[in-house]
């Protein structure tokens, strides 16, 4: 640590020891709290809930913690598997007599389950050897990856939607609703517009984005003009969107004429996102769009004037306003952009290979999962991409785990939740693994109760 700053009491600038880090933590939002310096006659602005959360998410939080959170989640998941399997549980009833039974049974169950999770999402050695000796095609080797990418693509979009809003100081809980409106418009454009291939796809994707934008704009303008809190409004709009979809599906012209249940007509082939690896593998161009969107969001945040405004408003709206940035306009723009991303995520669900028609559950949980993905990705674009890939892999592998090991798919959801809980509580992870500066982080989180 160089010290080019000798005259103004810089020894306190960076926490040199754990104790100092703890002191810094006591300084609350002030990074240099210890240094007494910035304290001088600056009434500390009450940090917003989102800002505080973001600080906690980033504070003393590294790749290590993320990795350890995964490990912890996997361990807790293993315990849950053992508990939920009656046969294995039975071996524990005579554990004092024959402990090896219990351990072997548990190990077999857990290791096979996780092996299936891996085989279903990344790489299956059997398929590979099958390809080598000609018993199956190359598609079988790429199938796990294809599944992972298929599940990941919409999550990238919704994750980016939440992350972008978060960076602008807004808590967009409404990615689900924005994705729902997005999926509706994308599907309608997909089966109502008689357009040539190519153009039709473009129109459907844009319709999806437009739907999301609209559903983001409403809470945005309510926040900017009426001061209505976006958390409340986005949650409420989620309900509106969900039930609008349920209603719409059974209307004439939308419902599949050959069916009596709630399913719409299928999207025309001309509006489907092209499959990347042939018809047998589900991976589609949505994942390419997702990578493109990640790059675009990263550029927007870090290299554009709009991103500068957005980050300034997110970090300190007062200073942004004083510097001539229109906070209300920025809020609206943030929500519109966030909505566009979520809407694109929604359109993936019907234009991609997951489904081709609207059903009440067509968007699944991508909006809410997007919140988890955003947090896991530390609200940074490329981090979101990686987090979405992980979640996609868990989904894809979970399917195989269910069919081969009989572990219910819900366990995957539990794993996802556990990962995010551990990530959101870095102090817990650090305490468990006895990482340095755990005390500092603990202090910091306990101070965060000031919400």
């Amino acid at each position: 640590m160089t010290n080019p700053n000798p005259q103004s009491g810089s020894p306190d600038k960076e926490p040199a020891s754990e104790a100092q880090a703890a002191q810094n933590a006591l300084g609350n939002t002030e990074r240099a709290g210890t240094a007494t310096t910035p304290k001088v006659s600056e009434p500390q602005p009450q940090p917003s809930l989102g800002r505080l959360f973001l600080n906690n998410l980033w504070a003393a939080n590294t790749f290590t913690v993320t990795l350890l959170s995964l490990v912890l989640a996997v361990v807790v998941g293993a315990v849950l598997m053992i508990i939920s399997d009656p046969d294995v549980l039975h071996t524990y009833s005579y554990i004092t007599a024959r402990p090896s039974d219990a351990f072997t049974a548990s190990w077999t169950l857990v290791s096979e389950a996780y092996a299936n999770l891996f085989k279903g999402s990344v790489f299956d050695p059997e398929a590979f050897s099958g390809w080598l000796n000609g018993s199956n095609g190359w598609q079988a080797v790429l199938a796990p990856i294809s599944e992972t990418l298929t599940y990941a693509a919409p999550l990238v979009f919704t994750g980016l939607a939440v992350a972008l809003a978060f960076r602008g100081g807004l808590f967009n809980i409404g990615a689900q609703g924005q994705a729902t409106i997005g999926v509706i418009l994308a599907a309608l454009a997909g089966f109502l517009l008689p357009l040539p291939p190519g153009l039709h796809l473009l129109a459907a994707v844009l319709a999806g984005a437009l739907g999301g934008a609209l559903w983001g704009f409403i809470p945005g303008i309510l926040k900017a003009r009426a001061g209505a809190h976006e958390v409340i409004n986005t949650i409420m709009l989620n309900y509106v969107a969900t039930y609008f979809l349920t209603w719409l599906i059974v209307q004439n012209g939308v419902q599949d004429p050959t069916r009596t249940d709630a399913i719409s007509r299928a999207v025309d082939n001309s509006a489907q996102l092209p499959r990347l690896l042939g018809d047998n593998l589900r991976v589609h161009a949505g994942i390419l769009l997702a990578v493109l969107a990640t790059w675009a969001v990263a550029w927007l945040l870090n290299r554009s004037t709009l991103g500068f405004e957005l980050r300034a408003v997110g970090a300190n709206p007062d200073a942004a306003r004083t510097a001539g940035i229109s906070v209300t306009r920025t809020y609206i723009l943030i929500m519109v952009f966030s909505g566009i991303l979520a809407g694109l995520g929604g359109s993936n669900m019907v234009l991609g290979s997951t489904a081709s028609a609207l059903t009440p559950l067509v968007v699944a949980q991508i909006g809410f999962d997007g919140i988890l993905v955003a947090l896991l990705g530390r609200v940074k674009p490329w981090g979101v991409l990686l987090a979405a890939l992980l979640f996609g892999a868990l989904q894809a592998g979970g399917n195989r785990m269910q069919s081969y090991s009989g572990i219910s798919l819900e366990l995957v959801t539990v794993l996802q939740a556990l990962i995010v809980i551990f990530i959101a509580a870095p102090a817990l992870v650090k305490a468990i693994f006895q990482l340095r500066a755990a005390r500092a982080a603990r202090l910091q989180t306990s101070l965060a109760k000031g919400w």
Partner: protein
């Protein structure tokens, strides 16, 4: 520390004063060394131990719950209950304690007032009362005057004297030399975490300042007489409301000419903040006009006002001036990020931003580890230099600086003042708003005194302090004759405290 002594702890920003006192109050744990009370070493695990040992602290930022009443705040942490297990709060007793303590030490507070309705000076008094109800012998005041008006400061000094008379010891942390000389029995100067010397209050200001910063500093502002040109900023009949929709600026007329510094003096909360915010387009103008070099600018958006050549140093740097999480470089372009060479169309030009940042860090002597360091890690003085650097590095017609040196160490004050005068000398109209009368007198060529939303007098910088002080208290010069002596060092005049209670 002796009983009944006022010990001043003097040091620059970041010298370690507050840290030391936080250790003493048990908030931080010492890495090494020990604290002796009455000759016995003391191990403090937390503030409650400190209170038990008779140490009380009044923080720089008050630790009060804004929506609670004075009595509730005072009993907080030491709640007395009655009704046995039901544990009803004994509010009556808390109220009685407040009244008792405030009478004993002559600290008038209304136990039923809600904290957020009280002016800062009174809030601080509540903090002192709170400490006193815990029967402390040693009271630590951490920069108590940073947020106070001159009148409130005078009152605080009076309070400190009466506490001293009652045998309490006081540690008084500050970096204002005048107050130290006025009240302290003994002075310890701290620099960069080390005691660099003790001094008696008889030491001259310059000696103390030199001790504080480790070199000689000029406390007066050197400047040549102004050569005022054409009017740049003209404000007529301006009416502005504050956040609570209460009239804050009530018909202000002001003119600032090119090449002069107009100082706006006044007790804080008399409309200065709202006046500036209205000029900057941050607050709606209800009536009257603001014009900049002939153009009406009232109703313009802030961005347009800034673009028209107005530089603005806001009063509260951490709230309005800087985005702490942003790097120094980003903060240096906070209001010109979308202008060439820093932005072109939708894209930012990181290279241009970085190179200009490097230049300005050097030019304005901003002490930072790098241009990429978050500005929140800088000391207060350097943060302020970042804002000043940002605002002064584009061609300006008008430069508005509100509290430009609040909470800034002596070395940075000197630097910022010289930049302000330099800006004046190159023909910019400058408006300086400050609650530090010395600063206004030192910088200004003309001084406008604001009281209750009006300019009640415009005087020259040679006007005696007492006269300006009376204007600040709302007494115009002709009526000032008989109570002229009252503001000078002694207890504040009845008018002063009355207006403050209403503020």
């Amino acid at each position: 520390m002796e009983p009944g002594e006022i010990h001043a702890l003097l040091g620059e920003n970041g010298a370690g004063k507050s840290t030391l006192m936080n250790v003493l109050y048990g908030l931080y744990q010492p890495d090494e060394g020990e604290i002796l009370v009455d000759g016995k070493p003391l191990k403090l695990k937390g503030p409650s131990d400190a209170i038990g040992a008779g140490i009380g602290m009044v923080h720089q930022h008050f630790m009060l719950v804004p929506v609670f009443t004075v009595a509730e705040n005072i009993m907080l942490g030491a709640e007395q209950t009655r009704g046995g297990i039901a544990g009803f709060l004994d509010r009556r007793r808390a109220r009685r304690e407040v009244t008792e303590v405030s009478e004993r030490y002559n600290l008038r507070v209304d136990p039923d007032a809600v904290i957020e309705d009280l002016p800062v000076g009174i809030q601080q008094r509540v903090e002192i009362v709170k400490a006193l109800t815990r029967d402390v012998d040693l009271l630590i005041l951490d920069e108590p005057t940073a947020v106070l008006t001159p009148q409130e400061t005078d009152e605080l000094l009076t309070v400190m004297r009466s506490l001293k008379a009652a045998g309490k010891s006081i540690v008084f942390i500050t970096h204002k030399l005048g107050e130290v000389k006025a009240i302290a029995d003994r002075i310890t100067v701290i620099r960069r975490g080390k005691t660099v010397g003790t001094a008696s209050p008889e030491a001259s200001r310059d000696e103390l300042a030199a001790l504080m910063v480790g070199r000689n500093v000029r406390l007066t502002v050197d400047k040549s007489p102004a050569t005022a040109g054409d009017p740049v900023l003209e404000v007529t009949g301006l009416v502005v409301d504050d956040d609570r929709q209460i009239r804050a600026v009530d018909g202000v007329d002001l003119t600032v000419r090119a090449g002069e510094v107009l100082g706006v003096a006044g007790v804080q909360g008399n409309g200065q903040t709202e006046l500036i915010e209205a000029i900057m387009g941050l607050r709606p103008v209800l009536a009257g006009t603001v014009s900049l070099a002939g153009d009406r600018i009232d109703g313009w958006k802030t961005k347009k006002v800034l673009r028209a050549g107005v530089g603005y140093v806001p009063e509260d740097r951490s709230v309005d001036g800087l985005v702490k999480e942003f790097s120094v470089a980003e903060n240096l372009v906070l209001d010109i990020y979308d202008r060439p060479p820093f932005g072109a169309g939708l894209a930012l030009k990181p290279d241009a931003i970085a190179s200009s940042a490097k230049e300005r860090i050097e030019q304005f002597d901003v002490r930072t580890s790098s241009a990429e360091a978050p500005v929140g890690t800088l000391s207060g003085g350097n943060q302020q230099k970042v804002i000043v650097a940002r605002e002064l590095s584009r061609p300006l017609k008008l430069f508005i600086a509100a509290q430009p040196t609040r909470g800034v160490d002596v070395g940075s004050i000197e630097f910022i003042h010289s930049r302000i005068i330099h800006e004046r000398d190159i023909g910019t109209a400058v408006m300086v708003v400050s609650s530090e009368l010395d600063e206004v007198i030192g910088l200004a060529d003309r001084i406008a005194v604001m009281y209750r939303g009006r300019v009640i007098g415009v005087v020259g910088p040679d006007t005696p302090r007492e006269e300006i002080g009376l204007l600040m208290a709302g007494i115009s010069p002709d009526a000032a004759g008989e109570d002229g002596a009252a503001t000078d060092g002694g207890p504040a005049s009845a008018d002063g405290s009355a207006s403050e209670d209403e503020a």
